[in-house]
Structure formats: C-alpha cells, structure tokens
Amino acid sequence: MADPAAAEPEGEQFEGFQGESPQLPEAEVGTPQGKGIGTSTLRKEDAELIAGQGRFVDDIRLPGMLYLAFVRSPVAHATLGAIDAARAREIPGVIAVLSAEDLHFEGGVPCGSNPTGDARQPTRWPLARNRVRMVGEPVAVVAAETRHAAADGAAAVEVEYDQLPVVVGSEEAVREGAPQLHEEAPGNLCCSIRYATDRFDDAVAGAEVVVRQRVVNQRLTPVAIEPRGVVAQFQPSTGEVTLFTSTQVPHFVKTFVSVVIGTSEAKVRVIAPDVGGGFGSKLNTYAEEYVAVAASKALDGVPVKWTESRQENMLATIHGRDHVQDAELYATREGRIVGFRLNVLANMGAYLQLLGPTIPHLTLFMGTGVYDIANYSCRIDCVFTNTTPTDAYRGAGRPEATHVIERLVDILARRLGIDPAEIRRRNFIREFPATSATGLLYDSGDYDKTLDRALELVGYDELRARQAEARARGKLVGIGLSTYVEVCGLAPSSVTKAIGVGAPGWESSTVRVHPTGKVTVVTGTSPHGQGHATSWSQIVETELGIPFDDVEVIHGDTAFAPYGLGTYGSRSLAVGGTALYHSLRKVREKARKIVAHQLEIDPEDLEFGDGRFHAKGSPERGMTMAEVIGAAWSADNLPEGVEPGLEETTFFDPPNFTFPFGCHVCVTEVDRETGKVEISRYLAVDDCGRVINPMIVDGQVHGGVAQSIGQALFEETVYDEDGQCLTASLVDYMIPTAFEIPFIETERTETPSPTNPLGVKGIGEAGTIAATAAVVNSVCDALGVEHLDMPLQPERVWRVIQGLDEKPVEAGPLETKGGGTS
C-alpha cells in the first residue's frame, strides 16, 4: 500500500477540507443475540422526532390559554421606579399586566449551593422589587390572547429606572470602590472557597521550576436550540398546579414551585415533555416558571404559555464559565510536578441561580487532573456583577479545571524542552483507586493506556516529523494533547451535603412488568437528547431477557415517576441506570422465588439465561420469564410471603463518584495571512467504563467536542461597560455550523468502574471537558507561543502572528527558585 503522505503533493500536507470522510458505518440493529448491553441499537426516540411529531412545550395548547410576555429591564443596574401599564392595558387582546405588587411569592428563586456555609445568597424575587441588577431581569408580565398582543403589551409598559453604577468584570467587582450589588454581600463577594494540602507553602518553596500563567476561561452562552418555555395552569378549586416546562429537573421544579407559590407539593405536577437540548441551562428553576404559575393563579386559573425568544434566552437563561484564573505549577527540572496553586475569580453574575458557587467548587476538586500532585492550594472567590447569572454549562467546573492544568503542563513541557506526551507520562497517577490531593477517590483508571492508544492512532512520532517538515516550509502546524479526568456520576448524598449542595444525589427507578410480558420503566432521570429510553431498554433486555422492543420508558412526569433528581453531571447512567439495574435484579430475584416454589427447587439451584430460569444441570426443567410473569399475575400459586405482581422500585444512592478519563489529540494549521485556525484532525480516545450503546456514546463525544471547539475558537459572551450584552443573538454569538466542525474520530478503552454493578462511568460531558485544551495547546504549538486565551478567533490569532500582541517565543525563560537557571 502506498504511503498516503508520499502521495500528497509537495507542500500540501495538513491541508484539505476538514479531514477525511470516515467510512459510513453499517446501520447496526443489534447483534444477532439481540439489542442488549453493548450493542449499537438504533434509538427508539427517533421515530416521532424525524416525523415532526415530537411534543415540545411550545407545541402544547390548552383551551382558553393566554400568552405571556415579560417586561424586562433594559438597564444593568437601577432603582426601580413606577410601572405604568395604562397604555398596555388599552391594547386589544391584553388581559392583564402583573408586577411584583400583583403576584404573591413565598420566597425567591432558590439557590441550592453554599460551599462555605457562609455564602451570601441574596433573595431574587421572580419579578424585580425595588431594584434591577442585570439587563433582562423580569419586571412585569403581560397576559394576552395572542402572542402578538402580549408582545405589544410588554413593549407598551412604561417603567422608570433610576440608573446606578455598573460593574461587569469579576476583577473590577472586587476592587475598592466598585459599585456594590447587594447590601448583604460587601465587596460583591458571594463566598471565598479555600483549600490547601498541609504546609503547602513550605512544600513548594524549594521547587526548581515555577510556571505562572493567568488563564481566562471566557463567559459562554449555552444555546440549547429549543429555548425555554412553560405552559402553566393553577386550578383555583383544588389548588392543583400543572406545569409543562422545558427542564432537565422536573422534580426539583415541582418541589420549588410548591414552596415558592405556597401550595402542597402533592398538588403540583410538573411535566418535561420532549426537551430540545439543555447542556445545563435547563438544570435550574427560573423566575418565569414561578411567574407563570402565579399569573395563572391571579387570573383565576386560566392556563398561560410563555415561550422564550432567543434574545431572552441569551439574556435571562444562565450563562457558563467566566473564570479568571491565576495558576502556578511547581516542578523539578526533570518535569516532575511537585505542587499546583490555583486562584480563581468566578463571576456569579447578578444573582445565584440553582448551583452558582458549586460550579467553581467542582473546579477546585478537579484542579490536579490526571496528575499525581501531592501539594495543592486553591482559592476561589465567587463574585457578584451586573451580568446574567452563571451556572452549570456542559462540564460545569471541570472544563475550567482541565483547561488550566493542561495549559500549564504544556507550558512546563515547553520550558523544559520535554515532549508534551512525555511530561504527562512522568506525572500520571498510576495506582487505583487513587486519593487525589483534594481527597476524592478516583475509582479506576489507566491514563497511559488512553494516551498510548491516542498516540498510536495519530502516528505521533511521524506526525511530529511531518510537522517539522511543514514548519520548515513556513507552515504553522500544531499538535495539541489533552489528558483529562472528570468527576461524574453525581453524587453520593453524604458528599453533596458535605460540600454544601442542598440536594442529595441518588436516583430512582420503577420496573413494572405487565401481565402480557411487556415492561414499563419509570425513571427519575430526565433526558433531553441522551437516549435514555433506548439505553434503559437495552439494560432491561440484558437483565430480564425481555426484548428491547417490549420495553417502554417513562420519564419527566412527576405524576408518574418516583422522585428523581434529573439529568445533569453525566450522572444518568451511573446513578439512574444503576437504580434501574437494581430494580431489574429485584424483579429477577422475586421471579426466582416463584419458579423455585412452582418447580419445587431450591432458589439457589436455579440458573437464569436468555430469559429463562432452569435447574442447574437440567436445562429442560425450567420456566420462561413469560411463564413467571403469568404466575405472578394470576397469583394462585405463590410462595409464602411473596406478593402478587412484578413491580419493583429502587432509590439508589451511589457510594462514590465515577471518574471517566481519556486523551484527545488535535492537529491544527493556522493561516498566516488571516489567522484562521483549521482543525485538520481531531481524535478522542475516551474511557467511560462499560458501554451500553457505542453509537450513543460516540454521539455524545461528537457533540461535546464540537461544543468545546466552539469555546476554543469562536464563542464568547461579551458585555460592554454599561452591562449591555453585545452577544444576545445568534448573529452576534457564533455557535459553530457544519462548516466549522471537522469529523471527530472516536476510540475507546474500557476500564470498568467499581462504583456500580454495571461498571459504567458517564460520557455526556467528556468531550466538552477535554477539547478546549487540545485545541488551544495545538494552536499555541503552531504559533510557538506559551499561552493564548480563548476564543482563538482569527483576529486574535492574526494579531499574534503579526507581533501586535503576545510575541512568539521559541523558549520561555526558566523561572527558578533558589538555584537560578541551569
């Protein structure tokens, strides 16, 4: 076979359109053995979605329904004056204009995060009272007969704003004399989270090499393609509330609606129908949900609908990231890391949403990454500013951790003249379970394996040689590595309590076996694209031998499901899937007792396989699952103490987190003339433990990597000094299109998690956590600079090439302690 490199025309290496088109995979419909665990079974969710028969919130219409439109603050900070709705009320179709005076709430929008125990959690009323602190803050709501009338009404409401000084950036917010947002948070400080290993300063004082870098992890807007929306109805006669909402956490919403509205939780039903993406932005409860319910109540039970516009989505739905990090890495001259110090200013925005300071708290926990670093110090100051609140955005604290440590390790490698792959090898954690510097117990791992596999697949040595040749021809070609570990499977409830999160971390499932042999699974998870109905059905097929197609999965409706925590933090399979596994095992064990009784065999002497119990050593003596199901239903011959029916529920609280890991490699070429970065190859080697559906796992990696490439190259939420968001539309905020994202090569190693019986870890966020560092390391390598902050938009890169900003450096100075440079 010809050498593909040799076949390329001179000077054309690393060019071409976004890599090679991969072979079309054969459509797999399960293995000959079925559609159980480990097969790329096609999704059962797709049929309605490809036909246009999905049911999203805005598709729902109730009889007599009114439309809501919010009046929002156009200024970032002001004392709220009079609200004049006279003109709005005259508009045909406008039924009501409601402000904070008209709607009663028992409390504010809840925050469930207090990492330090003394975090300032200023009350945020669903509709502003007295003061507004961000552009987009809801001030009043208009109810009208049509969308148009509601919008016209909202535009006609006149509000007086007495403007106050504004502060936007976290560094400005903590300066002496900065405008203050909340009386209860002097210095704009929400909380200061601190952690250090014993005698940290002494331990790193003698380090031979110190690398310091300021790293900005920019503010991002999540942009689920379906904006939020609600349909709400309050029944005055009974006090019942029905709320359709586009959310990842319907049960949280149910609990908090009952508290904030002041009604019995048993009367509240929350339904998350089809949800068009979340990425953490719908892991929250929002002012609009409470206002919609209160508005229906105020309007004598008329149902109301609110559909978020994209502009509202980019102003009033949470943002992500916005960390300013100062990092110091201490090492020996041989590149062995001895310590890491990380100080972070985390911009909370104007108020805390559900998880606020917990997001950077996760950064603290994962700061040391895949490396055996004994000495670690981290301080995170969470700061209020006149901006949209930040909260969980895909990865939620872990991308910030991976990015900074992976950047610093690359800078260290560069300074010491050690290959980036080699410096990583010199520092990997190798014995598992491993206690990290922050006390987390990494469950299992093999970081050399994913690194080695990635280097083998990209042909690392040859790639470096080709890079050298390309450079000799004046090409700016870079190779970037990112070796990551993340914490997911959130979370052991004792740990969430200990770190100040006001919610537990367990998950629920119910398995209901119908007399005809069909199965309903009710799960507490709340998917919005992850394919739980498919994966959960695969687990049923493997564990009970009941065919995939005979399983229905119900989620997202609090009237049907046992309490569930929802879908976030790459937790659904590791926690919710395990809850399902335990319910299936309970069904199986009950079935075993019934078979043993009917066949008069000791239960221990029965084996289960292919959907059938049989006596050990005599396969002909047994009962099929279908026969057992019939016996459990007819209930005429059950063993003593065994109840009729086959239905089991489990609430599973995980004993530990799970820790997926991997190595991503990104090859880039930078256009000298324009500064444009072209990704010529992207390879992800991930280890998420045991895989239920490889096709779905690949899809999660593709999407996560694409989102992370978006952060690395294109996306940035920008405010001006008056607190106006300059990127509040998809024209101004660029999420990547098909034209910007290359094919993503995926590969896996499989190191089972000992945390759960399925051996699974989680994959939803891995791509987002790993990829920014791979891309930025690659571009820094291409340009020969130590560091660049994201996004690497063409102008920023071009300015570096032109020498207008950071000067390219061939080798940075060795900053040393004690002994001077060698």
Binding site: L24, A51, V223, I225, H702, G703, L730, A738
Partner: protein, 153 residues
C-alpha cells in the same frame, strides 16, 4: 385588520384569516397545528423552521403568512409518503444524526435541497449546504454521514 390567505400545505388546502404580520412559521404551528416546524431564534440564523415553498427551501420565520398565498408548502410532516419514511428521515435514524431532535425537522428539510442540487454530494457540499442550520447536540458528524447515506439510498 385580518386578511385572507389560501395555501396548500403537504397537499391539503387551507384558508385562514390572519394578521398581516403573522409569520409563516406561526401560521403552520398555531393556526394549522403543524408543530413539527420549530422556532429556535429571532434572527433567521438557526434554520429550525426550514420548510419548502414551491420547491425552494426557506426559513419560514423570514416569510409572512400572506406571502405564501397560492403556494405549495411542504413541512416535515409531509415528507413521508404513503407511510414510507423519506430516505433522509431513515438515514437520520440509522446514522444517529439526531439527539434532542429539535433542529432535526429543519435540518432534514434543508438536506432535501442539498441532495437535489448534489445527488452525490461531497462532504464539503453537504457542510456548506447545511451551514444555515444549527445543531448543538451532534457536532454535525453523523448529520453529514446521514445525508451521504441518504444520497446512496
């Protein structure tokens, strides 16, 4: 204030009195109950509302309902014929080219015109052709493969 519009959607004739400012996408969703066509932005950027008008793919948020007077509109609901999925619908399923599924109807409608222009499209033609449709879930990887698979039948 209201004006009459007559339009054929997925082969069926409709007549409605509408506000002149009503967008086609809201005519389809709110007046005709065809909720498969979605809205994802205010700026005609995302393409979730893509439909076909007299054979052209159009973002239905850029068109007033009154502008389709006498036109034939096709939406995602009209793509399958006689209970048989369109090759693109089948390919999106078989290649796992959708996750949350919100962009999918618009993406598939846009892809129909990519395939008409390029019956055997290159990766670049597919990516260029879908540049006006945003997906936040899939990274486009499997969408490109699905369009390719549909082209090959």
């Amino acid at each position: 204030m209201r004006e009459r519009v007559s339009v054929t959607v997925n082969g069926r004739s409709y007549e409605r009195e509408v506000e002149p400012r009503l967008l086609l996408v809201h005519l389809l969703r709110d007046e005709l109950g065809l909720t498969g066509t979605h809205v994802g932005c205010d700026t005609s950027t995302c393409g979730a509302c893509t439909v076909r008008i007299d054979g052209d793919t159009v973002k239905s948020c850029t068109v007033l309902a009154l502008q389709v007077e006498g036109c034939e509109v096709q939406t995602i609901e009209g793509l399958a014929q006689n209970g048989e999925l369109h090759p693109l619908q089948r390919a999106f399923h078989e290649q796992h080219a959708l996750q949350c599924g919100y962009c999918t109807p618009g993406m598939i409608m846009a892809a129909t015109s990519v395939l008409e222009r390029h019956p055997d499209p290159t990766d670049e033609q597919i990516r260029k052709g879908l540049e006006g449709n945003l997906c936040r879930c899939t990274g486009y990887h499997n969408i490109v493969l699905a369009v390719k698979a549909a082209a090959r039948g």
